[in-house]
Amino acid sequence: MALPKIEFKQVAFTYQPNTPFAVKALDHINLEIPENSYTAIVGHTGSGKSTIIQLLDGLLLPTSGSIRVDENVISATSSNAQLGRIRSQIGIVFQFPEAQLFEETVLKDIAFGPQNFGKSEEEAFALAREAMQLVGLDADLAERSPFELSGGQMRRVAIAGVLAMKPSILILDEPTAGLDPRGQRETMQLFERLHVDQHVTVILVTHQMEDAAQYADQIAVMNGGQLVKVAEPAQIFANPQWLKDNHLTVPKTTQMAHELERGGFTFNPYPLTLEQLAVQIKRQLESRTQ
């Protein structure tokens, strides 16, 4: 079997170590993320999710342990050159990514990443135009200032700026925060397309359990700096009480299925999406009539 794409080995991280203000943010993290997988990392605010993201991209270095991304390893002693190689293949869409826009034009801003990673201006602009199309930005907007655009469009520009780097790993930190339902749906579908069509390995950090249930093939649950469970969505969402104990919201479908079970329905496997729930309801209603 091929090696997993990303592997955390005994990773720990402490903010301001050796000072009276030291805070242990992560401890004993062991996690494997297979190539072409879609992993959701969920957990309460302050559970260590954002620290994991920063470690993965070498924005923070682990206090102990190591993270392997393909053949590159991040540890407490990693050099800038090593980190640069890792960053060139990882794209991160941070929470409210429109805050990173700074260039005079949309096109220049999107081309910024590729240029930093060694692409010529011409190549970078070509990549930028391609990324604009991918995120559904009108080509007419290329020469506009990103600051004249609507909030939703600015979000797309920022996402395009990440995609233009052609990352093989895409990390998404609450990518739909603040968007309206249509924006949320379109954004999540965009990432799903990249995952399916271009085999991008996706890591989604989210509070939206519906998204984790619908898109992820494995879910890592964080609580208090520890990784408490890694499993398939159906397993994670089978027990509403366990979710509540770990400060997670129960997806609406799980909630509904649970209430229906009290009234005589049985679900096995537990439905993750509205469509699955509807199919199982139909089957049970019909089997009773026969």
Binding site: L59, R87, A99, F102, N116, G161
Partner: protein, 267 residues
């Protein structure tokens, strides 16, 4: 994470000094800095040093924090002391080379300057370690109040200061986030030529300014919605209370001054 950078951060230990009125602390620290310049002999410096040490110990703040306050200034102090040693003249000459010389007065002056620096830094660190920035802002407002009669917008200035203090951590946090986002897009801070380093700041500064302006606009709207229409006539939630301890502190300082002058003219 950045709060360390901010002038000696507040360390709550609830000591006697902590509980003093910020107005008393502010005025007395400034006053003390002035009388440091009255010291002119080893006896006078010894007296002020002993007093300062007493104050430091009574704050119950670990000495390490005071050292943290002094450390960044070590080079400036040493530089000034060395200038003083080499360039002042008078008394016995120990060593001379061109215009440089080490004389008795030079050495003595050097030591005095060193003491002066140390005392000033220690006393102002006592102020910032035992008083929240907000309280210092309140004290400044209270002390400037008479200027309001001269049409100086004291209330507005005080509110501005307090809002600025409140937004420092928010903007620090924001700049860290923007920096992370740009590093993830391949920006390498702190490497390459000076020009390259300065240019790498642009992707941080522009978003930071834009966000600060947006925040300011939001804040102004929120303040308006909450009925803010200028500083005039607003009542105050946070009142400063002058206690007996504050009067005692003033009397103590007066005593320190009297002894200082006694020692000064005795010598």
């Amino acid at each position: 994470m950045f709060s360390k950078v901010l002038f000696g951060r507040f360390v709550p230990t609830n000591s006697l000094i902590h509980r003093l009125d910020p107005r008393a602390k502010l005025v007395l620290s400034l006053y003390f800095i002035v009388i440091i310049f009255m010291a002119n002999s080893w006896q006078t410096y010894a007296w002020l040093a002993a007093f300062t040490l007493g104050v430091i110990l009574s704050t119950k703040v670990p000495l390490k924090f005071f050292w943290d306050g002094i450390r960044p200034l070590v080079w400036i102090i040493l530089f000034t002391v060395i200038l003083q040693i080499f360039f002042s003249s008078g008394g016995h000459v120990y060593w001379a080379w061109g215009i440089l010389s080490v004389t008795q007065f030079g050495l003595v002056n050097g030591v005095y300057i060193f003491c002066r620096f140390l005392l000033i830094i220690c006393m102002s660190t006592v102020l910032t370690l035992t008083t929240q920035p907000l309280m210092i802002a309140d004290a400044v407002e209270a002390l400037l109040k008479p200027l309001a009669k001269l049409k100086v917008p004291v209330y507005e200035l005080a509110l501005m200061l307090s809002i600025a203090l409140r937004f420092v951590p928010t903007l620090m946090d924001e700049s860290q986030k923007i920096m992370n986002a740009q590093r993830a897009r391949g920006v390498n801070f702190g490497t390459g030529s000076l020009i390259k380093r300065v240019r790498s700041l642009i992707p941080i500064l522009i978003p930071l300014f834009i966000s600060a302006f947006n925040r300011a606009e939001d804040l102004a709207t929120a303040m308006e919605a909450r009925g803010y229409s200028g500083g005039e006539g607003r009542s105050k939630y946070r009142l400063l209370h002058w206690h007996r301890a504050d009067t005692v502190a003033c009397v103590v300082m007066l005593g320190v001054t009297l002894i200082l002058f006694e020692l000064r003219y005795l010598a």
